[in-house]
Symmetry: C2
Subunit: 245 residues, 2 copies
């Protein structure tokens, strides 16, 4: 069913920078022929996932049904969300939970306190694993060889002057995270932004997800973050463990 694969690729090529697209735009983004892109867009429009204003296509909120299908069928996001909300309320910092998918982390739940990042994060957002706190603790749970492979697959490049891009230095950070049981990332993703993450394990001890809190460096230094929030986060981690899967 090649048509399904193409249609999903068409949906995914819409993002923050591309809210409305022409047939040719979609064809280029998906590497489909213009004719194929057109067929996909017309079908998506016919069944209500997209709309057409004579020039541009854009997605309709109907596509949320698709992402919601996973959110609703998966226990973890619903389980974690209220814990994140309490953590955010107590700490006045944003908190999130994510899974590892290839070389990226996928946000599965979030409680934001204020808009702190230039780009808004939401459920379904993806960020590179190698330079995020949750990515580090998730990579640290893999066998080192696989972690290295995934780091390389992501083609690490500097997002700020602080970003660590050398694979072996990243591997060292993973070892530290494994050792300490948490990871702090200081302005490697975005200037001014620091975050601390802990892994979430199931009752068998397998790491299945991670959660973090993040804030602005001018308000909370890395040291303060560990001192103030680590105990709370460790207790949340322990409470969740018997409840996961």
């Amino acid at each position: 069913m090649a048509a399904l694969e193409k249609g999903l690729a068409v949906i995914e090529c819409f993002d923050a920078a591309h809210e409305k697209l022409t047939i040719a735009d979609v064809a280029r983004a998906t590497e489909l022929s213009r004719a194929a892109a057109r067929r996909c867009l017309l079908t998506l429009t016919r069944i209500g996932y997209a709309e057409f204003d004579g020039k541009f296509f854009r997605l309709t909120p109907r596509v949320l049904r698709l992402g919601h299908a996973w959110l609703a069928s998966s226990a973890l996001p619903q389980l974690v969300q209220p814990f994140l909300e309490r953590l955010s309320e107590e700490t006045h910092e944003s908190s999130s939970a994510s899974l590892l998918d290839g070389h990226e982390i996928v946000y599965i739940a979030r409680s934001a306190q204020r808009r702190i990042m230039s780009v808004g994060l939401s459920v379904g957002s993806r960020l590179p694993a190698f330079c995020t706190s949750m990515g580090r603790v998730l990579l640290a749970a893999l066998p080192p060889d696989e972690a290295r492979e995934r780091i390389l697959a992501g083609h690490p490049r500097a997002l700020t002057p602080h970003t660590v891009t050398e694979p072996e230095r990243i591997m060292a950070a993973l070892a530290a995270a494994r050792e300490q049981g948490y990871s702090v990332v200081d302005q490697e993703l975005e200037l001014g932004l620091i975050s601390m993450a802990l892994p979430l394990a199931n009752a068998r001890g397998e790491t299945v997800a991670a959660f973090n809190i993040s804030g602005q460096v001018q308000r909370t230094s890395a040291e303060e973050m560990v001192a103030q929030f680590l105990p709370r986060m460790r207790s949340m981690q322990a409470m969740l463990r018997p409840l996961i899967k």
Copy 2:
């Protein structure tokens, strides 16, 4: 492109009650032939949207990319989210924003304070418009005939002993909402749950979405909710108006 339509239907048939499904389950839920359902599931598995354990298929977090495509390409959710978070922080009640899609409302942003509903709500969740506060203010913004049509299309049935299901009484509630500029729904969706919603209009005055605040009736009565929170919500509504679309 019939295959695309079928594949999307397959994704959507996963939900909270159906986290893992067999080929035959999917065929029944989507009214496809077992062969067609199988082709869809195999394709989804091949391209990473589903996985198979020898007996059951389940979705992977990859499908979040699809919903995220709309979230990222749409200005409204990102705009409203921080406002909801402030509203929740100030009122200690959960708040949400939604759009009208047919006879249902679709959650596009949410800031939950505590788990108050038996069923967890998240971005992409759908509820009937006729018995929700946001649904009422959204329906109230339509021409009355269209509102009535959509109400009937949803086949209103009682969800609690308080649910108003008679179309004309719902229409009267819409008129009241239009008049007052807000709507309060008292335990019509779920026992113990009350909520108050206001419409969100763009600069041209067209209602494009709604936001609400919801809490437990034992903690806050309908009258208290209006008295305590309406002014705050009106001011949020006014702040957002020039920023929308």
